[in-house]
């Protein structure tokens, strides 16, 4: 395997494209210049930091440090889910529901992959566990965000229909079924599209990275398939648990719709 090294000059040349974006935003008065520059700077700082952290972690190989980094990733992703909700659950639930569902889904899927398919030595080897968890986490986060957004806006919009069913003796999950179905479709659509388009519309990011790093394209494709299967499993697990947890919270034990629990 041979990797073509990238130095700072190469990165600056690539970054010039972002300057073009900023220039276009100014010229077209899109009002996005500040956001483009801030996002680009944030990306650079985050990736430099994560590069250092991963390098240190791979050297030490500590299981506790690996677990701590994985937990930090989950907690940050939980904040992102929260930020993407128009109508949030009140109190601890607003952050807790998405974060706990994401923690469960991404941990289970990552442990499954480490224990049965990749089998690194030791099993928690950060070189495998963290990138794997990161990819599962990023996509599970999107699924949960879209699922919860669909649920909260759907229940608010369909309040009359849900209450009409409750008034006729439906249980809370029966009454919310159309909204649940729509929310889960929203949550799962991105990964379905990714799988359907993989290899034809686009070569996925991880496979591209491996090929650029000199890996055999056949092996890179196998890794990409593995990752997409894991992401699909994690996204389904996370979205379903978050949406059903959301219905549980937005109704009560007497099967009443409790939109007063939304901010």
């Amino acid at each position: 395997m041979t990797t073509i090294p990238i130095d700072t000059t190469d990165l600056l040349l690539a970054a010039s494209l972002v300057l073009i974006n900023g220039g276009l935003s100014l010229f077209l008065q899109l009002g996005l210049t500040g956001q483009i520059v801030a996002a680009a700077l944030r990306m650079v700082v985050q990736l430099v930091l994560v590069g250092w952290v991963l390098a240190a972690l791979f050297t030490s190989g500590s299981p506790w440090a690996t677990a701590a980094v994985a937990l930090a990733m989950v907690l940050f992703a939980g904040r992102e889910i929260l930020a993407r909700q128009d109508r949030r659950l009140k109190g601890w639930w607003s952050y807790g529901l998405g974060t706990v569902c994401m923690l469960l889904a991404s941990t289970l899927v990552t442990l499954y992959a480490l224990g049965t398919q990749l089998r690194p030595e030791p099993w928690y080897d950060p070189r495998y566990s963290l990138p794997l968890m990161g990819m599962v986490l990023g996509n599970t986060m999107t699924g949960i965000s879209l699922g919860l957004h669909g649920l909260t806006t759907g229940l608010s919009r369909e309040k009359l229909a849900v209450e009409a069913q409750l008034a006729l003796g439906a249980t809370r999950f029966e009454a919310a079924r159309p909204v649940i179905r729509s929310a889960l479709r929203s949550g799962l659509m991105p990964i379905i599209n990714s799988m359907a388009a993989a290899g034809i519309v686009s070569i996925p990011g991880m496979m591209t990275g491996q090929i650029l790093a000199g890996a055999d394209p056949i092996l890179a494709a196998r890794y990409q398939m593995l990752i997409l299967f894991l992401i699909a499993g994690g996204t389904a697990l996370g979205s379903v648990s978050a949406v059903f947890g959301g219905v549980w919270r937005l109704t009560d034990e007497r099967h009443r719709l409790r939109l007063d629990r939304l901010s």
Partner: protein, 199 residues
């Protein structure tokens, strides 16, 4: 024994409410807009959190599940919700009994709910609420969008249900209608709910 016994029902801005409904009895519920008529019906149907001692045929509300309670004590709002695109998607079996009595017919089944008039939706919502054979109907201005003939048809249908011992609480702003459907009323004013005869 009373069909429906309501005791110590607490609602915002109102003194604790107590009344009972006998089998086949209809009580009109009257009062100015915003006085709590809809809240009263929703609380009895257990659709909003509330503190109360409520029983049906002597069995307390807490002794059965909320879905079971609502199949027996059914709330029909003035503007009901719809969860399926077609009319028949809202019924366990189509056509429902009494459809023609309310000036509707089986051809309404495949029609889209969005194409119906307010009055047609109100009549269908009432018929939909009868599918489980409720013991008590909580009717919230269900004829507000109906013409005179349709209003009378609904009143006659409810009168027939009363002959089968169904109890009715009927919120209406129409004093004439109240006199036609009920000998007594629950009057909500000055923070109190008082049962009195209709003048």
């Amino acid at each position: 024994m009373a069909l429906l016994q309501v005791d110590r029902l607490e609602l915002p801005g109102l003194k604790p409410i107590r009344f009972h409904l006998d089998p086949g009895q209809c009580l009109a519920v009257m009062g100015p807009s915003g006085c709590g008529k809809t809240l009263l019906l929703r609380a009895i149907a257990d659709l909003d959190p509330n503190q109360a001692e409520i029983s049906l045929d002597g069995a307390s509300r807490g002794s059965c599940t909320a879905p079971e309670w609502r199949r027996r004590v059914t709330y029909v709002p003035s503007e009901s919700g719809w969860w399926s695109s077609t009319v028949q998607g809202h019924f366990r079996s189509w056509p429902p009994a009494s459809l023609s009595r309310l000036g509707l017919n089986a051809a309404f089944g495949p029609r889209l709910v969005g194409e119906l008039s307010t009055g047609e939706r109100q009549r269908l919502a009432l018929l939909r609420s009868l599918e489980h054979g409720p013991r008590v109907l909580l009717l919230d201005e269900i004829t507000s969008g109906l013409d005179t003939d349709a209003t009378h048809a609904v009143e006659e249908l409810v009168a027939d249900l009363r002959t089968r011992d169904v109890g009715v609480l009927w919120v209406t702003h129409d004093a004439e209608q109240a006199r036609r459907v009920a000998p007594r009323k629950l009057s909500i004013s000055n923070g109190e709910v008082i049962e009195e005869p209709l003048a």
